[in-house]
């Protein structure tokens, strides 16, 4: 057990996963990941090629080139960096590169903010990357190890993003159990791709030009892979639990079975919500939390089966799609028949308190406007 930040936990997981190439560009609040990895390489603890690229765009581009040769690759970024990568995120997924990337969730400019929300990764939802949201440093480590195994599964072959909330996780220390190399080696076999690699002994062309006769099938295959990934994730979660004793799933059900009100949220905020639920349960309120761990693939079945018996649900979004509201809220509304209320909160690092959570529960119970976008923690006097 070590007391470390989520950034350190991610770096430890990367070391244990033994990627061959790590192209990375520092950005707040991801920076310490790139620093830890540089130190591991400098000290000979991680036998990888560390590429000191000149931008995030080149970080992901070099990652795609390296992954194309058939080796395991890691990169990490945040916010503006992820947005700069946007075009190449599509390419990585389309080329079916099982790259794993750490993303320190941070708000997007303008106005400039270095603090946390989840707008950055949420805005990449259509790129073909899987997205896993950690609640703790331990989960950050565990999700990186599992992400490689899921991404590299030959029925998936899609890249993964492991998302950790900026500062709340990236810079906060927690006790983390770091598995041994032997254990990880048994869990995560070496990456040996069959679908594509750059080898002069077996020449192939990657990233070809498709006319309208071929493009749609390539995109359809990605959708099949993304949907199919749900079962692969469940299998890998089980294998992980057997090996390391920690249980994962696409979603976490926290006291939902008898809950009248269920909150739906992602990432570190769930710690706060759980604390509030524990207190309110003692007061006799039947409240539950459905924590979405896998945002892509979208676990609509798991969400629905957990929330369907609740009177009403509250969906908490640290992002906004202007003109329609929180993305998670709208996706849930689109995919299932539930009585839901949507909340925007925590943008640009705005603190979310226990009282805010209680207020959300109150509004959810009382509100008759299902379409209203409820802003929590907004300084009303300043808008």
């Amino acid at each position: 057990m070590k007391v470390i930040t989520a950034n350190r936990a991610i770096a430890e997981a990367v070391k244990l996963s033994k990627p061959k190439v790590v192209p990375v560009y520092p950005i707040t609040p991801q920076t310490t990941i790139s620093e830890y990895l540089a130190t591991f390489v400098a000290n000979g603890d991680l036998p990888a090629e560390y590429i000191r690229v000149e931008s995030e765009h080149s970080a992901i581009s070099a990652a795609v080139g390296a992954s194309g040769t058939g080796v395991r690759v890691f990169t990490a970024t945040s916010s503006q960096g992820l947005a700069l990568m946007h075009e190449i995120l599509f390419a990585a997924a389309g080329l079916r590169n099982p790259i794993v990337m750490g993303n320190a969730n941070r708000a997007l400019s303008a106005p400039l903010s270095i603090w946390n929300d989840q707008q950055d990764s949420i805005s990449q939802r259509d790129t073909g990357w899987m997205q896993f949201f950690a609640e703790s440093a331990q989960e950050a480590l565990d999700l990186v190890l599992q992400a490689y195994k899921i991404s590299e599964n030959e029925n998936v072959l899609l890249p993964s993003m492991v998302c950790v909330d900026g500062y709340y996780l990236t810079h906060t220390v927690e006790p983390v159990d770091i598995p041994t190399q032997e254990e990880v080696d048994e869990f995560l076999p070496p990456y040996r791709p069959k679908h594509a690699y750059l080898d002069p002994k077996d020449p192939m062309s990657l990233g070809t030009f498709t006319d309208p006769n071929y493009y749609m099938e390539a995109r359809y295959d990605m959708e099949v892979a993304m949907e199919g990934a749900k079962n692969i994730i469940r299998t890998v979660n089980k294998e992980f639990e057997e090996k390391f004793g920690r249980k994962y799933d696409l979603v976490e059900n926290y006291m939902c079975d008898d809950a009248e009100i269920i909150l739906v949220a992602m990432g570190s905020i769930c710690g706060t919500i759980k604390a509030v639920i524990d207190n309110m349960r003692k007061e006799g309120h039947k409240i539950g939390l459905l924590r979405v761990i896998a945002f892509r693939p979208f676990p609509k079945e798991d969400i629905y089966s957990t929330v369907k018996n609740a009177d009403r649900i509250a969906v908490l979004d640290k992002n906004i799609s202007f003109g329609i509201g929180g993305v998670l809220f709208n996706e849930i509304k689109a995919k299932m028949d539930v009585d839901a209320r949507g909340f925007i909160l925590g943008l640009g690092g705005r603190d979310v308190s226990n009282d805010d959570i209680r207020n959300i529960i109150k509004i959810t119970k009382e509100s008759t406007e299902s379409d209203k976008i409820n802003w929590i923690g907004l300084k009303e006097e300043e808008v």
């Binding site: 080329l95 072959l157 679908h195 594509a196 020449p203 192939m204 990657l206 070809t208 498709t210």
Partner: protein
């Protein structure tokens, strides 16, 4: 079905596409005049002239570079 990632595993498979059909004029070599300078082999955009000065009409698009670059005018462009 489109291959995973639209990868093409058959190197050089564009030979299936016979671009000779694009041609209006074709280069015809007078081997008696040829001095084996290799200009036609070097400068062919299709790579369809061998070092032995054999022209593969399956692919020749009839651009006429070989005729133009032949120092002894051994290649003439003819219809077909």
């Amino acid at each position: 079905m489109t291959a995973v990632g639209a990868t093409v595993k058959e190197p050089g498979s564009s030979v299936k596409n016979k671009t000779g059909s694009w041609r209006t004029f074709k280069p015809v070599l007078d081997k008696d005049k040829c001095i084996d300078c290799e200009n036609c082999f070097l400068f062919c955009p299709e790579g369809c002239i061998t070092k032995e000065n054999e022209i593969d009409y399956d692919y020749c698009k009839g651009c006429g570079i070989c005729a133009e670059e032949c120092p002894v005018k051994a290649i003439k462009m003819e219809r077909g």
